[in-house]
């Protein structure tokens, strides 16, 4: 099932990969980036960035009809000593520095939030315990903005945990000072009806390391847009994702790594399992290597495991290279099935049917889960995977 492509330095290729004079990643969006929702037309569904998304299930986030209610979501932040946790107004200068909204819903979130959260880890502060941000939906509509900033050489793990029911559009900015190390685990463990759309911008300082795990289980519709840019040379980004898409769920992860700075690295690995009628997973992996970004080293990979009939995967890797002076660039995308013959094979070795399924799915996710490094989250994910499987069979 594997299909991989590696691009040697300076070569030209065809197909999904374009050696482009101008970026189609940028030009195929329907409007230029902007903080103002009015700069984006209301999408009709045929735009490149919306064509996989069922707009009618966005509950009005895309057309201005979703009005924030008083108690949309409740946010609790539990931070170790030394971390500064603030709630700030719209005019705070620290907001929006990691990236500009690139689509209508992200701009809507930015235009509509009333208060923003800012979590700051001062320079050279090395945390031994995670910062935990609990976002609990209370059934309403909410817009939000969260900033996580690490000063130079600070080190932190941040866990953002989404639970409950909400219609939420919220963006997150991660700003990493020089030499900083940030690991983020964003868990979307929503109730069945929740809608969650967000743009996650990371701006990675010189020699800084950003590691992200995006874990999506719940929700009726989840659409996340992690984006990476580099503020200095030597930056590294590792973007890992896991999703388990059930019957009727739409889970969409759209990534962009903008190699705008020389000698930076990125590694993207997203894995998803799908089961049930109408389960729909979308993965878009855009990597842009700008002309100035000599010495770039990048790889992106998406794997999907389809457990039953009736599920659908759209997986679109897209790599654009404007300079040949790079270390490496490659991508791979593959979708495999767990089918009756596999089930028969495992059962013919004495393994009961539900154990066979669990074996396959746990094995599929294991290499990513083990890299999270936050014990309670790893354990919870494995339990969650088992629950998903129990619910299905």
């Amino acid at each position: 099932m594997a299909e991989a492509q590696n691009i040697p330095v300076g070569s030209t290729t065809a197909g999904q990969i374009a050696v482009a004079a101008e970026s189609t990643v940028a030009t195929r969006m329907s409007a230029p980036p902007s903080f103002d929702v009015a700069d984006f037309p209301v999408p009709h569904g045929r735009e490149e960035e919306w064509r996989f998304t069922p707009l009618e299930r966005l509950r009005g986030l895309h057309d201005g009809t979703a009005v924030a209610t008083g108690e949309g979501v409740k946010v609790d932040i539990d931070a170790p000593e030394g971390v500064v946790v603030e709630t700030v107004g719209r005019d705070d200068a620290r907001l929006g520095r990691a990236g500009t909204p690139v689509d209508r819903v992200a701009a809507q979130a930015y235009s509509a939030f009333e208060k923003a959260g800012v979590v700051t880890v001062p320079k050279e502060t090395v945390l031994t315990e995670p910062i935990r941000i609990a976002v609990h939906g209370q059934g309403g509509v909410a817009y939000g903005h969260q900033v996580v900033e690490l000063g130079a050489f600070a080190e932190a793990v941040v866990v953002i945990d989404h639970t409950g029911d909400a219609v939420l559009a919220a963006n997150v900015d991660y700003i990493l000072g020089d030499g900083a190390k940030l690991t983020v685990v964003s868990v979307q463990d929503w109730d069945d009806k929740a809608v969650h759309v967000g743009q996650h911008n990371a701006l990675i300082g010189r020699d800084a390391t950003f590691k992200s795990f995006v874990v999506t289980f719940g929700g009726d519709l989840v659409r996340l847009h992690p984006r990476i840019a580099y503020a200095g040379t030597g930056g590294e980004a590792e973007l890992f994702g896991l999703y388990f898409t059930d019957a009727g769920q739409h889970q969409e992860h759209r990534l962009l790594v903008d190699h705008n700075t020389p000698h930076c690295k990125s590694n993207v690995a997203y894995k998803g399992a799908l089961q049930g009628d109408g389960a729909h997973a979308v993965w878009i992996g855009d990597v842009l290597i700008e002309a100035t970004a000599e010495g770039t080293d990048t790889y992106e990979m998406n794997r999907n495991l389809v457990l039953t009939d009736g599920a659908r995967v759209d997986s679109v890797p897209n790599l654009e290279i404007e300079t040949g002076e790079i270390v490496g660039a490659g991508h791979a995308s593959a979708t495999g099935r767990f089918d009756d013959e596999q089930l028969f094979y495992l059962m013919a070795r004495g393994i009961a049917a539900h154990d066979a399924r669990r074996l396959v799915v746990r094995g599929f996710f294991a290499e990513l889960v083990q890299q999270i490094g936050v014990d309670d989250i790893e354990e919870r994910l494995l339990v969650k995977i088992d629950e998903e499987l129990e619910a299905a069979v």
Partner: protein, 254 residues
């Protein structure tokens, strides 16, 4: 002593919107310690017999009985049959993405033995079994059958046979697609298991070549869905010289 008894077994498959009878009354008894070769032309139903015994859902049992030590095999699910002591080495082993060989073997051994093997002895057991089959230790970290060559797949099947120690082993065309070296290694693996005297072996093959390495006690000729002649090892020599024509002529089309 474990005994597999097949009595008047009839099996159909659905193909092209029609029901087709493939097995038309198979009678066979395989006892622990015995080796039976089932030989026959393509399309005679040999593989259908193998997969029906293992419980593949594609096949419908329409008549007859199969018992293992008196227990009704046909009432058992696929995994129950395996745990009862039936093992099918498949002609076309299936790729299982996301599951490493080592994880698969341990899960399987745990299911068959009823408890997880002790880790230290298990690692040694697997390593030694792999060495005997000339398998690279790195093999254990690959996904089950994913990207395996034909020979690797068959070695992996025999590795499982050695580790799971079934009462009855059904080897479905284990020799097909193997070069002489691989055939020798695989046959030696089968012989090691047979020499224990603990397993009854049902060796299904189209060719006599493998019988130079694995000596059967009984040879059965399979044609048009049933056993048409049984004998000792000398029957294989006759087939080697005369082929299957004598059994397939005269309207007994498969």
């Amino acid at each position: 002593m474990a005994t597999l008894e097949i009595r008047d077994l009839h099996v159909t498959v659905e193909a092209d919107n029609a029901t087709k009878e493939i097995l038309k009354g198979v009678d066979l008894t395989v006892k622990q310690g015995e080796t039976h070769a089932i030989m026959g032309p393509n399309g005679s139903g040999k593989s259908t017999l193998a997969y029906s015994l293992a419980g593949h859902p594609k096949y419908t049992i329409t008549g007859g009985t199969v018992t293992l030590d008196g227990e009704d095999v046909l009432e058992m699910s696929v995994d129950e049959r395996a745990r009862a002591g039936l093992f099918l080495a498949m002609q076309y082993p299936v790729e299982v993405p996301g599951v490493s060989v080592s994880n698969f073997l341990r899960t399987s051994a745990t299911a068959i033995r009823g408890e997880a093997p002790k880790l230290r002895t298990w690692v040694k057991e697997v390593r030694e079994a792999m060495e005997r089959l000339n398998m690279d230790p790195a093999f254990a970290e690959r996904n089950v059958n994913e990207g395996f060559s034909g020979g690797e797949k068959k070695r992996h099947e025999i590795l499982q046979l050695e580790l799971l120690k079934p009462k009855i082993a059904i080897l479905d065309e284990t020799d097909s697609g193997l070069d002489v070296d691989a055939l020798r290694v695989v046959s030696e693996g089968v012989n090691r298991v047979r020499e224990s005297g603990e397993v009854g072996t049902l060796l299904i093959t189209h060719y006599t070549r493998i019988l130079r390495y694995i000596k059967p006690d009984h040879v059965h000729v399979f044609s048009a869905g049933r056993i048409v002649e049984s004998g000792g090892a000398e029957l294989a020599d006759k087939l080697e010289n005369e082929g299957y024509e004598v059994y397939t002529k005269g309207g007994a089309s498969a």
